[in-house]
């Protein structure tokens, strides 16, 4: 019993200690030592997490709580530094530490030659700490600490190669856009505390159920603002624009933060606060709408991308859209299950993409890849495994979770048939863009020199680097196994989550609708339709006989594709709607009253400065004269 407690208490602190070691010693550590410290710390957390999950599963105890210390007190309520482990946070810590440890191991290989290696690993460790605090916090303040912590680490890691201006801009954009959501969430926290006087999540849920009726105005606004926070962090409509740009960071960062863990924090938040959302059914419908629209939007955008990581980024967005859809429909455990399986296969996809990018010497444009199946057979297989999980072919983990979500939509009182159709269309899009990505990257001819004929005439085939160390291979194998077999966790997960989400099923008296028998058949068949469609539609991409590739790929310049390529014009819209007016007002307001005050004082300082400079002219006679003038002046003052 006490081992459980100390295990839980130490869980977030291994990576924290490692972070301090790496930051303080910095470049004095060798690559080997830095890797051992950082990967070891996260692995320790992972082992503790698995042990705790095991304990939670075999014992009849449903919750493990450990209070570390009292943080501060607000009025009558105390905010404690308390870690709280139940089924939901158990799923999250296993994903965060398990997938996190594998990605750390891979990152140690991927970033080996970077000169700031230990700084990179330190940030990664700090991210794990913040993420663990986010999912283990028993009150909203601790959750918010972790929430901001992961935002900070995301900023630091996107801009890790800050020497390039674009990376720094992408980091800034990610930080500012998520800040909008964070502000909404902070306001929600204030409103909650104002009306309930409590931050502890369990107490909050109980108090809210007593104080508010279903559909009260106040709880509606609180839930809406919480949704705002989740939307910002999880890159959903309308705050989704930061995620594709966030791909500027190193690939392990994209895998860890922008696919597996941080972006799912919004999903976790809504699942954790489901007690409040149940009191506001309208907001749950909004959640479902946001999820549905985002998954369609991201699916269309992914169809036109040319950068392998941006395809995966839009795909992440669309999969999180599925999770949101599930949450909006009240299918809590299905959403969390998809969160877990998505973490497996999307981390696999990103890491394999990282290997491909490394093999091609940092080439990310899929139109300059092609034909890699012969050169990188292992990576091709791993990527294909990731993609079939993403497409949700029967038997894979993605199938279990995605079909569970789709199945729960039709009859849900807060969702309905229209959402079901959105999800099916999204699944179709998913399989089409996945096939396009696979064909372009791995099949067909090598287009490594296309577009740069003149430069590479002497060297038509750029050498493909296939020399990967074991630490960059094994995490991929493990993730592939998890991605394929992740569906087996579903029974265990359902058992655990059922306890948390017990008695939270929505009022189904309203909508016990007719559920057609063809629903499941359509849902299962959709991915295959997508594959068959793309097999013929993208025939150019996969065939090796193409002679003039430039002609075949000229269609990518059409207006519609360009529209999709730029994320359906949201960046443009925000530029016109918010950024330009803001800059205009800022420009107009450049000489306001405060500015005037400050500039006047600047002018005085400047005046005195030039007066004093003129005095210090090095002429003895001038000094003597000023001495005399000063004496006369002082005498005059004294006499008067």
């Amino acid at each position: 019993m006490t081992t459980n407690l100390s295990m839980l208490a130490w869980l977030p602190f291994y990576p924290l200690i490692s972070f301090f070691i790496l930051i303080l010693l910095g470049k004095r550590l060798s690559w080997f030592m830095a890797s051992v410290v950082s990967v070891g710390a996260v692995s320790l957390s992972a082992i503790s997490a698995f042990w705790l999950v095991q304990q939670l599963a075999i014992s009849d105890q449903q919750v493990i709580t450990v209070q570390l210390w009292q943080w501060f007190s607000l009025g009558n309520s105390q905010v404690n530094f308390t870690l709280y482990l139940d089924g939901l946070s158990a799923v999250m810590i296993s994903v965060v530490t398990g997938v996190g440890a594998l990605i750390h191991l891979y990152a140690a290989g991927y970033m080996k030659t970077d000169e700031n290696f230990s700084r990179f690993m330190a940030y990664m460790n700090l991210f794990i700490v913040a993420m663990l605090l986010l999912v283990l916090g028993d009150n909203l303040v601790l959750l918010y600490l972790g929430w901001e912590g992961v935002g900070l680490c995301s900023f630091l890691l996107i801009g890790f190669w800050y020497q390039d201006k674009n990376n720094a801009l992408a980091a800034r954009k990610a930080f500012i856009v998520t800040r909008i959501g964070d502000t909404a969430m902070a306001i929600a926290l204030f409103m909650l505390f104002n009306s309930l006087g409590e931050f502890n999540i369990n107490h909050l849920t109980e108090l809210a159920a007593v104080k508010w009726q279903v559909g009260d105005q106040q709880v509606f606004w609180i839930a809406l603002l919480l949704l705002g926070g989740a939307v910002g962090k999880s890159a959903q409509l309308p705050l989704q624009t930061w995620l594709p740009d966030a791909m500027a960071g190193p690939t392990p960062v994209s895998a860890l933060i922008h696919a597996a863990t941080m972006v799912t924090a919004g999903v976790y938040l809504i699942a954790r606060m489901h007690g409040l959302f149940l009191l506001a059914p309208e907001v749950m419908t909004y959640v479902a709408w946001i999820g549905a629209l985002t998954l369609l939007l991201a699916g269309f955008a992914a169809l036109a991308q040319t950068d392998i990581k941006r395809v995966l980024a839009y795909s992440t967005m669309s999969q999180i859209g599925y999770m949101m859809l599930a949450l909006g429909a009240g299918a809590w455990s299905e959403g969390i299950f998809h969160l877990m399986t998505h973490a497996f296969f999307k981390a696999l996809l990103f890491l394999t993409a990282g290997s491909v990018i490394l093999a091609l010497h940092h080439q990310q444009n899929i139109f300059k890849m092609g034909g890699l199946v012969k050169k990188l057979p292992i990576e091709t297989t791993l990527f294909a495994i990731g993609l079939i999980c993403l497409i949700a072919l029967p038997g894979t983990s993605g199938f279990y979770s995605k079909e569970a979500i789709i199945a729960s939509l039709w009859t849900s009182p807060t969702a309905g048939p229209i959402f079901w159709w959105c999800a099916i269309l999204g699944a179709l899009l998913t399989s089409v863009y996945s096939c396009r990505l696979f064909f372009l990257t791995f099949l067909g001819n090598s287009r490594a020199s296309s577009g740069t004929h003149i430069d590479n005439k002497t060297d038509p085939k750029i050498e493909v680097n296939t020399d990967f160390s074991a630490i960059m291979r094994w995490p991929l194998y493990l993730l592939a196994v998890l991605a394929l077999l992740g569906g087996l966790f579903s029974t265990m997960l359902d058992q655990q989550l059922a306890i948390i989400f017990a008695n939270t099923s929505l009022d189904t008296t309203v909508a016990e609708e007719f559920e057609p028998h063809w629903l499941h058949i359509v849902a299962i068949a959709t991915p295959f339709i997508g594959i068959v469609f793309s097999w013929f539609y993208f025939a150019d991409y996969r065939q090796t006989s193409g002679i003039n590739h430039d002609a075949a790929f000229a269609e990518k310049n059409s207006r519609l594709t360009s529209f999709c390529l730029h994320g359906l014009g949201f960046d443009w819209l925000y530029q016109k709607l918010f950024i330009n007016p803001y800059c205009f007002i800022a420009k107009l307001n450049r000489k306001d009253i405060f500015d005037q005050i400050i500039m006047t004082s600047r002018w005085y300082v400047d005046l005195w400065r030039s007066a004093l400079i003129a005095n210090q002219n090095g002429s003895l006679r001038w000094y003597a004269a000023s001495l005399g003038i000063a004496v006369i002046f002082l005498l005059g003052v004294a006499l008067l």
Binding site: S619, R621, A624, A625, G628
Partner: protein, 102 residues
Amino acid sequence: MISLPLEHIFILACILFMIGFVGVIARKNTLFILMSLEVMLNAVGIAFIGAGSVWEQADGQVMFILILTLAAAEVALGLALLIRLQRRFQSLDIDKLNRLRG
């Protein structure tokens, strides 16, 4: 012995002091600046002596001897420095000797 009024002595001392001070400011040659300084010191000496004689106290003469000693020491040092300056820079122009920019 005709006793001079104190005001006259002070006026004389002030005039001498001002002449010396203007000399210090207006002259470029370091030698003349040194001489003007002597004039200023002597103006102070006159003020002391005059005040001592009017109030029939010996303190004024004591102070004058002190000032005289100081002036002698100062002139000895100053002239020595002037000779070094002349040797080194072939000039005694104070405006040209400002290389320290102090």
